[in-house]
Amino acid sequence: MELVRVSNVSLNLEGIQILSHVDMSFEGGLIHAIIGPNGAGKTSLMNCITGYYPPNDGTVSFRGEDITRLRPDRIARLGIARMFQHIEIISELSVKDNVLLGRHIHTNYNVCQALLYYGKAKREELRNEGEITEIMSFLQLEDVQEKIAGSLPYGTQKRVELARAIAAMPQMLILDEPTSGMNQQEKREIIDAILRVHESFTPSILLIEHDMRVVMEISDKIWVMNFGTLIANGCPGEIQQNKLVIEAYLGSEGTC
């Protein structure tokens, strides 16, 4: 079942053509990897899908509905969650508060009820705290849950961000280079976490990744971009043999 469709999307920013006539269709339930050299437009495409850059041309639809011109927070509330390339956790808040932020959409009470606290607000808070305990133990964050997020090491912060993204119970999870800046062991941990998340919580994942071994290991479908367009797509086996792809990567055969 198609979850997200990108149709003929073009994007021009400050005079540079970032995306040209991109067509993609992402099925639910699978791990899709989007690969390509730096500057290929992968992150910009994600920005178009999630509403940060309105495309000049083309449409994006989610479960059949056109979401092209929607604001990012509206799109998030429809069920698309996202991790960013750079650390975007809230360093002033505790780990637990960060993950609870993920539950923001599902925490239902208004300001007046918050002012009173006892009653609906308290019930909702307790309910959501319960909902996130499983996610936090899943990603081994229980020990640090009261710690201020800004004081933790990089790898842990990434896990917090992942926990926050999952806590939103999204239908589609977009991960932008989740392993960047990590050593082998941290990468292993994050990949395992992503796989377990895929099995247990979130049906559909869009993964932007440079590490080819990771990509080949975990993706169901691979989409290859270069110079703002799609140059190939298919399952890992096909992509490995694809001449265009190999050409695009000449000189940068995967990453170590």
């Binding site: 604001r71 998030a76 809230i90 009173l116 607000a121």
Partner: protein
């Protein structure tokens, strides 16, 4: 290496979330409460009056904290909301003879509406632009209060009649003290509740990481406007209490410096935490009175000093503001955490 590339143009201050949880804090709070309730019975009138002013400023600065401490919107015009609240109170009670108990509810709502209106342009502006616009807002309000003299009484201001509750007329320091104390406690409770709700998390997210806040479904304009709403409602309430405590309002009560005093309360006390804000409000409220006393004492020795009071005052203000920013990031309350960290080593 210093880098100018870190460009979040908001106030980012890392303080732990408030709400005292340990047993000693709870005991201290109870003791403080008892002391506060008993104060008018033992204290002299002037001290009670000063504490009333402190309580009013505590309400005010907690409102400003929503903008500066929570959503990182620097407002240099908070005094305008207090001024509006005070004058609206004066007008309704004096010119329209409304009952104070109705007015105290209406005025904050009215200033809240103004706050929402101010928030609208503010949504598009950041950092310096927002600061300038809020500064201009205070200036415009000040000018307006002075020029519309048929409504506001111009330079001379307006008198504010004493509230009546049944047969009781509020006309002593004690009356206004308890009124302010009650309101301050209510505001504390409300703010504490907000601080443990999703709105607190949302505010901080908007302050620190606008981009990912949106990715979590947080609507930026809603939260930024909500912060302004809290600030303006609290400010209006403070203004209302101020008007009735002083018994009259004049434009002199709300100079531009008032907005800066609120900023100082936050930088000296520490943004974000209630204890810090209370410390800041107390110190800065008392500062001009203390300075006046000091200068008058000095005046007995060196008479010419007294003439320079206004200038001495702003020199001290400048020193306090710059000094607190240079040496006390996180305010005096943040200092406590630092000292604790030191001692733990």
């Amino acid at each position: 290496m210093a880098s100018l590339e870190s460009d979040s143009d908001r106030v980012v201050v890392k303080t732990p979330t408030s709400a005292p949880t340990s047993a000693t804090s709870a005991v201290l709070a109870v003791v403080a409460l008892i002391a506060l309730f008993l104060a008018p019975l033992v204290g002299n009138k002037y001290i009670i009056f000063l504490i009333t002013l402190i309580l009013i400023n505590v309400i005010s600065v907690q409102g400003l904290n929503f903008l500066i401490g929570y959503t990182g919107q620097l407002s240099l015009g908070h005094g305008a909301f207090v001024a509006l609240g005070a004058y609206l109170t004066a007008i309704l009670c004096n010119t329209y003879s409304a009952s104070f108990w109705v007015v105290i509810v209406i005025v904050p709502l009215a200033t809240g509406l103004v706050g929402v209106l101010v928030a609208l342009p503010a949504l598009r502006l950041k950092g310096l632009y927002l600061a300038m616009v809020t500064l201009a807002f205070h200036m415009v309000v000040s000018l307006g209060l002075m020029s519309l003299d048929d409504i506001t009484g111009g330079y001379q201001g307006m008198a504010v009649p004493n509230p009546r509750l049944g047969s009781v007329v509020f006309n002593t320091e004690g009356h206004f003290y308890y009124l302010a104390l009650l309101c301050a406690l209510l505001i504390y409770a409300a703010s504490a509740n907000v601080a443990r709700s999703k709105f607190y998390r949302g505010f901080i997210a908007v302050k620190e990481k606008e981009i990912s806040a949106q990715a979590m479904g947080i609507s930026l304009w809603y939260y930024k406007t909500l912060a302004f709403l809290f600030a303006s409602i609290y400010g209006g309430l403070a203004g209302c209490l101020f008007a009735v405590t002083m018994g009259h309002v004049t434009p002199n009560h709300f100079p531009m410096m008032m907005s800066i005093e609120f900023i100082m309360m936050i930088t000296v006390g520490g943004p974000g935490s209630f204890v810090g804000l209370t410390i800041g409000a107390s110190l800065i409220t008392l500062l001009p009175y203390f300075l006046l006393y000091a200068v008058q004492e000095m005046g007995t020795v060196v008479p010419s000093v007294v003439v320079y009071f206004a200038d001495i005052k702003i020199v001290i203000y400048g020193l306090v503001l710059v000094g607190s920013l240079m040496f006390l990031p996180g305010g005096l309350y943040g200092l406590k955490a630092k000292v604790q960290g030191w001692l733990a080593k």
